[in-house]
């Protein structure tokens, strides 16, 4: 094993994406997450590391798991969590993103977690506030904490990421999870492939350092990890793929297709799952092969680590 220089702190003000992060920064967050995994397993009692700190969850898109996960992570660290969802805020009344940012900034929060439906919107908001900002998903651009929790899940089962063959399957084009995962897994030395119908593979994705496959049989050959992506309902019938049954037939993961991969290949899915669309229902529930619920647990630890790393403690 080569000697690693360990960082003492996370070297950036924000966590807006994985692209551009050095392996040291990623490893710092993963190491810290690891500690919180153990802590959650041991007792999980509330800490007071972020006591008197205020974090705002600002979600312009509906989300259950990511928002709850950040909420829970913050509370475990003793922070005061504020949830703002767009449906009940003045954003619906026509306020611009920059005005929202300035208003929240005036309340002097210690951190803002943002999800927005437009790529780059979280970056724009981060430029207008004094505190740290975590991107909880910006359009099809990035979702860095999801990539971190996927990496943490892989590490817990496979001990390393370097050298693994990892396939990301499904709607790559509209997926921020795919982009963040590609950047992270590549940075840590994995061999990343994407598999999907050509209508859902974005142009020049190869330049991000992945191999493209259009057939599950070819793409899954010898892989150690399979990351299945959710296919949005509105893209199922006739626009990007002709029908659900056709999609499931060629790209849905079942036991037959799983045989192409390594015999101990692990299945990940960022959720929420469409059972019978991208993944066979019975397979999703097989805890030996599928780490889908483990991912959710890891999610809380990763978000605790990110909150801890980005909130300035005196």
């Amino acid at each position: 094993m080569k000697e690693e220089i360990k960082l003492k702190s996370y070297p950036h003000k924000h966590l807006l994406g994985i692209e551009g992060l050095l392996p040291d920064s990623i490893n710092f967050l993963l190491d810290l997450s690891q500690k919180y995994v153990i802590y959650l397993k041991d007792n999980g009692k509330k800490l007071n590391i972020l006591k008197n700190k205020t974090c705002i969850n600002l979600f312009f898109e509906n989300s259950t798991r990511t928002r709850t996960s950040f909420d829970l992570a913050g509370k475990k660290l003793g922070a005061d969590m504020l949830n703002i969802s767009v449906a009940s805020s003045s954003i619906k009344k026509g306020e611009t993103l920059i005005d929202t940012a300035m208003t929240l900034n005036a309340m002097q929060p210690d951190l803002i977690v943002v999800r927005h439906h437009d790529a780059g919107a979280v970056k724009l908001l981060s430029e207008k506030v004094n505190c740290g900002v975590i991107n909880a998903g910006d359009g099809p651009h990035e979702h860095p904490t999801q990539a971190l929790l996927d990496a943490l899940t892989i590490l817990s089962r496979k001990k390393t990421i370097s050298g693994l063959k990892i396939a990301i399957c499904g709607d790559i084009m509209h997926s921020r999870v795919a982009r963040s995962n590609i950047h992270l897994l590549n940075t840590l030395g994995a061999e990343v492939r994407v598999i999907g119908p050509a209508t859902l593979i974005p142009k020049d994705i190869e330049s991000l350092g992945v191999k493209v496959f259009y057939k599950m049989k070819d793409g899954l050959k010898d892989v150690d990890i399979i990351i299945m992506l959710r296919l949005q309902l509105e893209r199922m019938s006739g626009s990007f793929v002709p029908s659900i049954r056709e999609y499931f037939r060629f790209y849905g993961l079942n036991r037959d297709k799983l045989k192409y991969a390594q015999s101990d290949a692990l299945i990940l899915h960022p959720g929420p799952m469409n059972r019978g669309v991208e993944i066979d229902s019975e397979l999703a529930d097989d805890l030996d092969r599928s780490a889908i619920f483990e991912q959710v647990r890891m999610g809380v630890a990763v978000r605790m680590a990110c909150l801890k790393a980005l909130v300035k403690c005196n």
Binding site: E19, T96, L97, I98, H116, D118, A119, G120, A121, K123, L124, D138, G139, P140, H141, E142, R176, R179, P202, K203, D204, I205, S207, L208
Partner: protein, 438 residues
Amino acid sequence: MNLKDPFNNRKQSPNYLLKNGFVIDPCKNKIEKKDILIKNKVIEAINKEISVDPNEFEIIDCNNLYISPGIVDMRVNLGEPGLEHKETIKSACMAAASGGVTSMICMPNTIPAIDQPAIIQSIQRKAREVALSKVFCTGCITRGHEGNEISELQLMHESGAVGFTDGNKSVANARVMKRALNYVKSFNGLIIQHAEEPELSAGGMVNEGEISTRMGLAGIPSYCEAMIVERDLWLVKDTECRYHVSHISTKETVEIIRNAKEKGIYVTCDTAPPYFLLNELSLENYRTFSKLSPSLRTEEDREKIVEGILDGTIDAIVSDHTPQDQDAKRLPFNQAEFGGVGLETLLPMILSLVKNKNLDLIRAISLVTKNPSEILGLDVGKLNIKSEADLMIFDLEKPWKIKPEKFYSKSKNSPFDSILVEGRNLMTFVRGRLVYKF
């Protein structure tokens, strides 16, 4: 002239003698040190060492400065009527005068759209009152630029429309396009196309490729442009109408137009500074000032556009002035409007081709004066004796930094924000009047 106000729109004007400037005459293809005599609005004489009675003429020393026809800008969005918070005829004319633009050809995407003669007359009346730049209108090819029915093309032509275009929209329907091309033939009208296949580009934000994939933005394939041009060329070949492609941005389009010209098809085209100076890397950090239509393309496209300018495939250069107020640009990238201002930066951008690409200075000036004027069939952009004196006097070397906050345009959305340039317009004459002095 009031020193605090660089603009002058007084009706009375003295006569001028411009002494010792390097006179660029695109028609004679010459640069010579000469004097220009302006009397009663027109160029009275261009000669060596003209002497006059100093009581009768205001003498301007142009030593070391260049004098050329004022810029004829084929693609300007005025903002008036309907979008006065972005730009008014007055602010656009001020921006034009300071940039050396003496003739603006405005796009019909106003509110209401210029699809009938009355709006043309109203714009021209306002422009005459402002009296800082000449304003010519284009009319919509189709009613309300909706792409369905041809508008009153000949009535607009009679009222002064110099060409027809649906502005920032393509005429998507081939049948409608064919009829429009056929129809304007009877009065030798000019059809100007913004080439972009609308179905393929729908919802797109930037050029499709590595950058759009990395940024998670919907892409517009670059061949959307070439597809429409190729389709149109079939129609042009059939109808033999005058056809002009506006602000081309891709290597494929340059290639197609080059081939068509070799085959003798009547087609002309222009491009704008962002397409020969910038590429899609300017979109870094989701910079909305670089969100343009057409999109910024790859470096290879940019190089081919430069090649097209150098070998004469591209006939003209336009500012593609598209003012957007702050609220239309300070938004997440997807929500921000397209376009950038350009009237006040066009001259140094053209001159950059002279400095960096060895483009001949006379040819560079022709691209923004004589050529657009000839495409449009106008009597501007030249230095003919007894023609109205529309001139600019510029310093070829003067370095300056582009500071949009100093623009006269109401909008500051320049994709060239904060860059350093050389060459500056110092004085602008329109109809023999000194309308702007730096």
